[in-house]
């Protein structure tokens, strides 16, 4: 289980979702991905994408105008 980071700052939805999707495709179940965003839309879109694809948002926090989500990769079918 490893930790990864993804910079999705200045990207507007759905691009942060697409970047997360492409990144997660190369990770293993149990890995975590911390994605840093600036578009407030990610608060809804990334959790929604995670729910339908079997991943989990462990934490969402804000820091100096950036939204940081930590995702745990689920076991894909």
């Amino acid at each position: 289980m490893t930790q990864h980071t993804l910079d999705a700052r200045r990207l507007l939805c759905p691009l942060p979702v697409i970047r997360v999707q492409n990144c997660v495709a190369d990770l293993n179940p149990g890995d975590t991905l911390e994605v840093v965003c600036t578009d407030p839309g990610v608060r809804y879109d990334i959790p929604s994408w995670c729910r339908i694809n079997g991943h989990h948002v462990l934490e969402t926090r804000e820091h100096e105008g950036e939204i940081i989500l930590t995702i745990e990769v689920g076991s894909t079918l």
Binding site: P14, L15, I18, Y44
Partner: protein
């Protein structure tokens, strides 16, 4: 026990594709969704740019539909490949710069590639015969099937009974009699089917998902090509066309003026790429200058910037002009009156 057949459904976020996917899921087929991001989608970006009604959280309708249906959704970035569809549509444009028939062929073609790569069996769309003037006519629907390469593996569940049998029907993967024969522009059959499925909250259907169908947007895109002397674009170009008022006082430059707070915040992100202007003492929006400008042009741009700040009725307003490299200076100008702004400057 045999594995269920697998279908990939084009999910736009609207009602029709949602219904089409549900009709096939109810026949025991495994369905996953696919959604293409072209850069011209109304979905997504504009939600982020515009100031929001906080009582109604924004959502990506394609993701929302997938969640309602309980299916996976694959969102594919096709920005680069899609340029050829916009710039050189084989079948031409619709009322504005919308290459709907080429677009549908392109998207079904991409879905077909995905289907082959992932060992799925067929493709579903929410198309309805006669619903759209270009891509959803009885004579153009076979064109989409043929040019996309999908052929008989393209199934339109909402109007399948009006069309020749497709492979999923011939092979018994789906039952033709459980498909539909929707026809024309009426939305009543879709709404009745939505009620039957218990769908009560869905995006307003039909036509509003692509900026290329928007007349004002098409004018701005044409202007972009004309001013640059070539038909091409980058993602930032087409994003900025969605934001603010665009004023072109001279052929060699235009101004992008935000209309509200959300747009202002968005344009702030482009400060290092464009010369920009802003009232220095009064409150006023950041204004981007796209193109080249000499001293007279900058003076004109400053007067226009002053027009949109809170000091618009003052005799003079200080405006800060900042080059893309950060070099800044302040000049005092008389705000331009509304009557002095020719209507044709506004794109």
């Amino acid at each position: 026990m045999t594995q269920p057949r697998k279908a990939i459904a084009l999910i736009s976020g609207g009602l029709d594709s949602m219904l089409a996917a549900k009709v096939i899921m109810d026949q025991g087929v495994h369905v996953e969704g696919i959604n293409f991001f072209t850069g011209f989608c109304v979905e997504g970006h504009t939600h982020a740019i515009r100031k929001h009604d906080s009582a109604k959280p924004k959502r990506n309708n394609a993701l929302w539909v997938a969640e309602q249906l309980g299916i996976k959704l694959h969102i594919i970035d096709v920005i680069e490949e899609y340029k050829q569809v916009v710039l050189n549509p084989k079948h031409g444009y619709g009322a504005n710069l919308n290459p709907c028939l080429d677009c549908k062929g392109f998207m079904v073609g991409k879905a077909h590639e995905w289907m082959q790569q992932h060992a799925f069996d067929f493709i579903i769309t929410g198309e309805v015969v006669g619903q759209r003037p270009m891509s959803q006519r009885r004579d153009t629907m076979p064109v989409v099937a043929r040019e996309s390469g999908a052929g008989a593996r393209l199934l339109r569940p909402l109007c399948a009974q009006l069309l020749p049998e497709t492979l999923p029907e011939q092979e018994g993967w789906v039952q033709r009699e459980q498909l539909h024969r929707f026809n024309g522009r009426s939305r009543k059959p879709q709404m009745a089917l939505a009620a039957q499925f218990g769908f009560v909250d869905y995006a307003q259907p039909a036509g509003g998902c692509c900026f290329l169908t928007n007349e004002q947007y098409a004018v701005k895109l044409s202007d972009l090509w004309q001013s640059r002397g070539k038909r091409d674009y980058e993602l930032d170009d087409i994003m900025l066309l969605k934001v603010g008022r665009h004023l072109r006082p001279r052929p060699h430059f235009k101004l992008i003026i935000p209309r509200e707070e959300g747009e202002s915040r968005y344009l702030e992100g482009y400060r290092r790429q464009f010369t920009h202007l802003q009232a220095f003492v009064h409150n006023g929006p950041i204004v981007l200058l796209d193109g080249t400008a000499d001293e007279d042009d900058l003076l004109l741009a400053a007067r226009l910037t002053a027009r949109y700040c809170q000091g618009r009725d003052d005799a003079q307003v200080d405006v800060r002009i900042t080059a893309a490299d950060g070099a800044a200076r302040i000049i005092a100008v008389a705000p331009m009156s509304t009557d002095d702004i020719p209507r044709e400057w506004l794109l």
